[in-house]
Every structure is written in C-alpha cells, then in structure tokens.
Amino acid sequence: MTSAAAQPPLLEVRGLEKRYGGVVATDRVDLDVHAGDVHALIGPNGAGKTTLVAQLAGQLASDRGTIAFAGDDITRLAAHERARRGLVRSFQITRLFRSASVIDNVALAVQAVAGTSLRAWRPVGRDTALFARAREVLDSIGLGAKAGHGVDELSHGERRALEVGMTLASRPRLILLDEPMAGMGPDESARMEALVAASAATSTVLLIEHDVDVVFRLADRVSVLVGGRVIATGAPAAIRSDAAVIAAYLGEEQR
C-alpha cells in the first residue's frame, strides 16, 4: 500500500518461530500489518495460522523472534497486557462465558480493558457506560433482541457473532479474527462479512479466513502461510496471480 513507507507498521513481526520438538509450526515469520488495513492471512489446513495468532495474542510463547505493536516490543508481554494495549483476538472455536447472559458477555469484554476490575462492593448493573457500549455492540451484530438470553440458547451463527462482537467491544486498535465464518451458512457468512467490513472502518484487522472469495473482497493486503512460512505478501490481485501461491494453495480453479 502507498502509506506503508510513510509510517511504521502497527504490527511488526520479525523472525518469529515456534517449534514442537522436531516440528516447526512457525518458521521465521516476518509480517507487517499496517494501520487501517484489512490484512488477510490465508493458507491450507495445518499451515500454522492458529499457532501464529496465539503467538501474536500471547497465548503461546515464541521460541525466537520479535513482535512489535505500535512501536513497542510486546514479545514477552502476557496476553492480558497485549489486550490492554489494544490487540485483541477472537477464537476459531467459540469461547463464551457460559454462566453470563449475552449482554453480560459483551459487558465483560468492555470491562476487561477498562482499568481495574477490583471493585467488589458496587453492583455492576449500575455501570451504565459498560452496558451502553455492550448494547451498541449487540445491536451492531444483530443480537440486540437476545441481550438477556443465556449463551446456550443461541444458534451456532449467533454464537460466532457474539464471539466476534466480544472482540470488537473494547474498540481495539488491532483485531485478530481467527476464522470468524467457520461453520456458518451463506446468510450468516454474509452478515459476518459486513460486520468485519464495518469494524475495519475503526480498527485494523488481521483476518484469518479459509474462504478466498471473502478474503479477496475484504482484504487490502494478503499474506499466504504454508508450512509455517509466509511464502507471499501483497495486494490481493498480485497474490491471486502469484505462481508460488497458486502452486501451494490456491490451485488452478482460482485463476
């Protein structure tokens, strides 16, 4: 992108590695995600996409390499410290708080980055700011009518929407979305695509996604991960015609 040279990338990954015994899950990954972009990360099953996301968000420690976010080295920071700096992820396998209602799940996501939560005497129901934002998020993901429901009462698509909604709730600077459309029907996928596009207006997005049609519609830049390595990064059009990418992942029918 043209702005790339003007300012340093929001997320700057250099030489990142993760090994499990002899298996190299992440192999010297370099990755730049620029502020304002939707940056898609694609690759075949087992390419190491979810491992990389876990390293970026702090669930997994890296064996080697550095991760810089907004100019600061965050390689050794705990996951919650990264989240508080504005780097928040969603999960491929939905992770919700089962004993809380739909709106409480979102309110918790807002609360998580809002300073201290050690207040133990005042009922949170009076925290109007938390719930105003939570309601706004629920309306934007189409779950406004289900605010008081338990999360077990939601359909798969609704649970996925809530998963992503919780990630957006704290208005992070960088959102890591790990296959937000996993297991969704066409209608639900279309709604999720619109949601990702809308959140890209205010946040930078690193999108892991299998559906290459969606990726080429949404992304400003695309990186291709194969065997733990980034084999290509570029604008969607360039990636679509990259010979190595076609050979390794996209295949003939995508031409």
């Binding site: 809380a100 709106i103 996501a109 133990a120 009922p123």
Partner: protein, 325 residues
C-alpha cells in the same frame, strides 16, 4: 442474567432476614427450653459455616479446587492459640495476626499453585496443606502432635466493658457477626465488577485473559481473601474449643469443608451455611442412632450430587422461583 434486574420475590428477600432473626434469638430460645447445651453446637455450626463459605468463595466462585483449605483454618487457629499461650490476649491482635499470617501463607502457596491447573492444582494445594500439617505435628514447643490447650480466650475491650470469647454467648454472637459480614460481602461481590470478572475467568480463563483480565492476579486475590476468612474461622474455632491440634490442618478437614460446599451449593451465597448446618446436624442426629453415620451421610451426599446440581440451596431456589426461560 445478572444484568437484567429481576425484582426479587418476597420470599427470597425475607428468607435471609427470618434466618438472621432466628439465629439472633436462638440463645434465648435454647435457654427458655433448658437446652443451653446446644449453644455450643450452634456456635460450631456458625464457625464451620464461615470456613465453608470461605472455601465456597475460592472453589465455587473462583473455580479453584483447593484441596488444602483446612490448612488456612488451622493456621488461624494456631496463630490465635500460640499468641494466647504466650500471654497476649488482645482479640484485635489475634485478628490482625491471624489475617496477616494466613494471607501471607496463602499468597506464597497461591502464587506457586496457581501456575498449575486442573488436577495438578488440586494436588499441589493438598501437598502444601500436608506440609503444614506435619509442621504443626513437629513443633514440640506448642504441643506437637498432642495439640495445645489454651486457658484464656481472645478479649475485646468495648469501651469500659470487656468482651471475653470464653463466654458462650460472646463467642456465638461474634461468630454470627463474622458470618453475617461474610455473607453480605459475598452477596455484594457476586454482581460487582470484580465478582463478574472472577466468574468469567472461572468459565474460561483463556478467554478472560485474551480480553484483558489479569486472570492470575485476580485468582491470587480471591485465593488470599478466602484463606484469610478461613483463618478467622480457625481463630474463632480455637476460642470455642479452647484447644488446637494438627488435625485441624489434616486433609480430611479440607474434605469435610468441600462436602459442606457441595452439599449446600457451589457458588451460591448460602451454600456454605446450608452445607455446614445440614452436615453437622446430620452427624449429630445420626450419630445418636448409629456408629456408622458417615455411611448414611455418604448416601445423602450421593443423592444431592446426582439430583441437585446446585446443592440444597439450588433445590430451595428452584422450589421458590421456577426458572422462567
């Protein structure tokens, strides 16, 4: 569903007040019927209720299956007994020292144990508790395995008057006040910011941390606070019995507290109270008929675990307010 403020049913709001009134009037009623003997049983139930409530905070609300909670109760009992045997009778000093020592021990034990999870956490808390159990056994200066008798009790000066916990009424009402405070605090905690964060990390601590909650620190806070309350229960128990022994720290005591919590209701405000009262009354009543009362209590526990998912307090709540979906 915490956010949707439901008007509490009249019964739900009144029940705690009725219970409190009964508890306050109990000594008078017992005296009227010449049953003063049972005041000590009632006090023991209250003290165990405090200990079980403290375990419910860490186990039920925090989701940390600590199998060494009796160690903190035992530490509190020993701190008070040792101070008294050294001639220090100030109740405020006992309270401060109990909280300081149990909190410090819980901080160290928690800081290490909370790096593990699942069955490892259960085992490591058990291991720490057993270490403290053997430590109490080996301190000959304070009774060793025979335990330690104390002649005096904690004294609190209220202006000109002195409150001596040797008085059955004094120890009963002080314990009751501590229990009441613990229950009010627990009821306030659950829907607070901190309480909801703790419930969230019990549900899924990976997600909670990914959202920005410092889950390790929060768990440690809950662990230390619960242990301190357990220590206070121990200090009250030492005053009630006039005797402490290493058995207070034994893992079977931790097991008894766990049985109370599960019986009464995990992660419910009243779970510890109901569990302690029911278990101890069952022991008292069945114990009068058979030596094998533990056998029958085992069956009752089995039935509760199988048929009442939230313990006895869950059963009561379900009867009073059928869940509207």
């Amino acid at each position: 569903m915490l956010s949707e403020a439901k008007p509490p049913g009249l019964g739900r709001a009144l029940a705690p007040l009725v219970l409190a009134a009964v508890a306050v009037a109990l000594p008078l009623v017992l005296r009227a019927f010449g049953l003063e003997f049972y005041l000590s049983l009632a006090t023991r139930i209250v003290v165990y209720a405090i200990a079980a409530t403290s375990l419910n905070l860490v186990l039920g609300y925090g989701g940390m299956v600590s199998f060494g909670h009796a160690a903190f109760v035992g530490i509190g009992a020993y701190v008070t007994a040792v101070l008294i045997s050294e001639g220090a009778t100030s109740g405020l000093l006992h309270l401060a020292a109990t909280v300081a020592v149990t909190a410090a021990a819980a901080f160290v034990i928690g800081a290490i144990s909370l790096r593990t999870r699942g069955v490892y956490f259960i085992m490591i808390t058990l291991a720490f508790a057993q270490m403290l159990f053997y430590l109490a056994n080996s301190v000959k200066g304070y009774g060793g395995d025979e335990g330690l008798n104390i002649r005096a009790r904690s004294l609190f000066s209220l202006g000109a008057r002195i409150l001596d916990l040797k008085e059955p009424l004094a120890i009963y009402y002080v314990s009751l006040a501590v229990l009441a405070f613990a229950l009010v605090a627990l009821a306030r905690f659950a829907p607070s910011r901190f309480g909801r964060a703790v419930l969230a990390l019990r549900d899924d601590d990976v997600r909670a941390e990914a959202l920005g909650f410092p889950t390790y620190r929060y768990k440690l806070v809950v662990f230390v606070v619960a242990a301190s309350l357990g220590g206070i229960a121990g200090a009250l128990g030492a005053n009630l019995q006039g005797y402490v022994s290493p058995n207070l720290l034994h893992w079977t005591q931790s097991g008894t507290l766990m049985v109370m919590v599960i019986l009464g209701g995990v992660a419910t405000v009243w779970g510890g109270v109901i569990g302690a009262a029911v278990l101890m009354l069952l022991q008292e009543v069945l114990g009068a008929y058979t030596e094998h009362h533990e056998f029958w209590i085992g069956w009752i526990l089995l039935a509760v675990v199988l048929f009442a998912r939230h313990g006895l307090s869950g059963l009561l709540a379900a009867r009073r307010a059928p869940r509207a979906s």
